[in-house]
């Protein structure tokens, strides 16, 4: 067990964090309420079958590897002049009203145990505010975690007809003894007719447990497109979610993961159709080598008022070893018959016939398999509209194959 030299997970610690960020009373209260609620909250839902939880979060010693007052990190938060990209403490100073309106409005701080823990303890974050009609490209948020634990918070607000492309990366810097924990909450409030493209590339070290919840509310004619890349971590529990709240809103969730060693990825893509003429497209592909394990859960929930819904979901996992394990559960819940929807998930292996075909042309077995795996990710990568993210993901896949 790790030695408990950390600051206690108590009211004093939470007050200290809140004070250091210069937060108003209401925000401190929200944190303290989340802290109080911890004992009563459940872990985020995971798929269960009789006798088994596909991802076991209960046995993780969150309080053991949380070191709340050490939040060493390297952070870049940059964006174009037209948009505001603010460290959290500055946002508290300059945009209290905006924060008050949106903080916790998309992701309920008490959604589950881990969101509450994150709300109570987050000490770093970014607020991206894009005013009406502004088109902001190239917002970059890079977090390099150098502490044992880090709680990160991101809020994105786009006003009417605004547009923003955000690229977020998480990595780990200096080695730390023992297990680590990264937690990230992302809230997106996409205003009418606005467009948010949010790409995330997680590549933390393999001693780090990673919990992220990214959720957006899309207003009328708004679009929220997510790209979720998971390469690093010991265990990842990630959920990317859109509530299509306004008529004619749209969302795409594109996911890619590549596990090796004994990594465990539990990735979720979820969309709720709550208005008319909404469209969602969920596409995830992942590869697993060695003893890696993946759990995928996708949800398309079509509400009773969601007339004229289009909703598509597909997930494919490629197993590169006999010891890897994958489970997938694509769920489609339809409460309005005026829906065109599809959902599918497959788990497969590299085809021997494909390999043989390539080998008869002179390709050695290893290169042939590498080409097949890289090719497997292409349909997902083609959906990634952010060039830099696509190139990085491509390189990371190529590098992992050649380790």
């Amino acid at each position: 067990m790790s030695t408990q030299v950390h600051a206690a997970l108590d009211e004093g610690t939470v007050r200290e964090i809140s004070e250091s960020l210069g937060e108003p009373e209401w925000l401190l209260e929200t944190r303290l309420e989340a802290l109080d609620a911890l004992d009563d909250l459940a872990m985020p839902s995971v798929i269960r079958t009789p006798g088994r939880e596909w991802t076991n979060l209960h046995d993780l010693d969150f309080e053991g590897f949380v070191d709340p007052l050490n939040a060493a990190e390297n952070k870049d938060q940059v964006g174009p002049d037209e948009a505001e990209v603010l460290p959290f403490a500055e946002a508290v100073d300059e945009h209290e009203e905006l924060l008050k309106e949106h903080f916790g409005s998309v992701v309920d701080p008490q959604d589950n145990y881990l969101t509450a823990l994150s709300t109570a303890l987050f000490s770093t974050g970014t607020v991206v505010y894009v005013p009406e009609g502004v088109d902001a490209e190239d917002v970059k948020i890079r977090t390099e975690m150098n502490s044992q634990s880090l709680f990160n918070y991101t809020l994105v607000v786009t006003e009417k007809s605004a547009s923003v492309t955000i690229l977020e990366r998480q990595s780990t810097g200096e080695d730390v003894d023992g297990e680590r924990y990264y937690s990230g909450i992302v809230e997106v409030a996409a205003g009418e007719n606005s467009n948010v493209q949010y790409g995330s590339l997680q590549n933390v070290d393999e001693e780090t447990y990673n919990y992220t919840l990214k959720r957006g509310h899309a207003d009328t004619y708004a679009t929220i497109d997510w790209i979720e890349g998971n390469i690093g971590s010991r265990l990842t529990k990630s959920s990317v979610e859109t509530y299509l709240k306004g008529d004619s809103s749209e969302s795409q969730i594109v996911g890619a993961f590549f596990g090796h060693g004994d990594q465990h990825f539990d990735v979720n893509a979820r969309v709720w159709h709550e208005a008319e003429h909404t469209t969602a497209d969920l596409v995830t592909r992942g590869a697993l080598d060695d003893e890696a394990r993946s759990v995928y859960e996708g949800v398309q929930d079509v509400g009773s008022d969601a007339w004229d819904t289009n909703s598509y979901q597909r997930e494919n996992t490629l197993m590169l070893s006999d010891e890897s394990e994958a489970d997938a559960s694509p769920k489609l819940i339809i409460n309005n018959h005026d829906t065109e929807a599809s959902h599918s998930a497959t788990v497969g292996q590299v085809s021997d016939e494909d390999l043989f075909y390539m080998e008869t042309r002179g390709t050695d077995p290893e290169s042939a398999e590498n080409m097949l795996v890289e090719g497997f990710f292409v349909p997902v990568l083609e959906e990634v509209a952010v060039d830099e993210l696509r190139d990085d993901l491509t390189d990371l896949v190529a590098a992992r194959l050649r380790e």
Binding site: D352, E353, T360, R361, G362, T363, G375, A398
Partner: protein, 304 residues
């Protein structure tokens, strides 16, 4: 001048519990520059012969040999083939090693490979073939030394950046030329390997790949099935060019006499029950077209 020689080849499905003999003593010899047609009814072992030559893992050879005889100069004047490395038993080699020595298999049902462009695949394959060939003919002692020297100098990230012997620009030129010869649209080069190709396009693509890899012997498994007449002519032109311009020996498996009007065979063989039952000249194919296989069967089992 290379010769592919099959001697008394026996093979069965390499699956436990299945001991069905598919090849029952095949003898066949194909030399550079010759065109052979291999005909016969369904299930007679034609496709299996092709797959066994190429090294398909689904078949186990139980008896016999598949030899490739090379002569100095077969891989171009500059490439020296030492005397003790002129005959290879292909059954000892992996499929990609057989390809490196100049054996090509054109598939009846080519694999569709999503996400890998034709250009990328073919250039990778061509460079891999050239590299493997160097390795096969390398002096063993020399080889070890080189491995040691290579050590850890190259990082894994350098893999994709390594251009190989044939660079991108040079390859583009080779590809364009060969595609033009085969009357193929340039847009194919950027499409994913066979993905979404029509049956005819796939077959054309098999011939294109042979043209680029310049094999000593190409085994073409039903390259003519499912082709319309225009494409049949394009494909035939490609096969003739392989023989005429590169001196490739062709073993063409077919059900139909039709393609033989365009690709005139020097030799025609008929397979029955896992053996070559009869061999002859081009006229044999015409006789088969008119009279079917029954007379061959009768003749074969009478004499046997």
């Amino acid at each position: 001048m290379a010769t592919l020689e099959l001697n008394n080849l026996h093979a069965e499905v390499a699956e436990e519990g299945v001991d069905e003999q598919i090849l029952d003593g095949v003898d066949l010899e194909v030399k550079s520059g010759e065109i052979h047609a291999l005909m016969g009814p369904n299930g007679s072992g034609k496709s299996t012969t092709a797959k066994v030559i190429a090294g398909h893992p689904a078949y186990e050879v139980t008896e016999g040999e598949v030899l490739l005889h090379l002569e100095d100069g077969d891989f171009g004047g500059a490439f020296e083939i030492p005397e003790d490395k002129r005959t290879w038993d292909l059954l000892d080699l992996e499929p990609n090693e057989r390809a490196a020595l100049g054996v090509f298999l054109g598939f009846q049902y080519p694999a569709e490979i999503e996400g890998v462009t034709m250009t990328n695949f073919l250039r990778t394959a061509l460079n891999a073939k050239l590299e493997e060939r160097e390795e096969l003919f390398e002096d063993e002692d020399e080889h070890e030394e080189e491995e040691e020297e290579a050590g850890y100098d190259t990082s894994p990230m350098e893999g994709p950046a390594d251009e190989g012997e044939v660079g991108v620009a040079e390859f583009q030129q080779i590809l364009s030329e060969k595609m033009e010869q085969l009357d193929m649209d340039e847009k194919f080069a950027q499409r994913y390997l066979n993905a979404g190709f029509s049956g005819g396009e796939k077959k054309q693509n098999e011939v294109l790949q042979a043209a680029i890899l310049e094999p000593e012997v190409a085994v073409l498994d039903e390259i003519d099935s499912g082709l319309d007449i225009d494409r049949l002519q394009d494909v035939s032109k490609g096969i003739n060019a392989l023989r005429d311009e590169q001196g490739t020996g062709i073993l063409q498996i077919t059900h139909y006499q039709r393609i033989l009007d365009y690709v005139e065979p020097d030799h025609v063989h008929v397979m029955l029950d896992g053996k070559v039952a009869k061999s002859g000249g081009a006229e044999l194919a015409e006789k088969l077209e008119d009279n079917g296989y029954d007379w061959v069967r009768e003749e074969f089992y009478e004499t046997a």
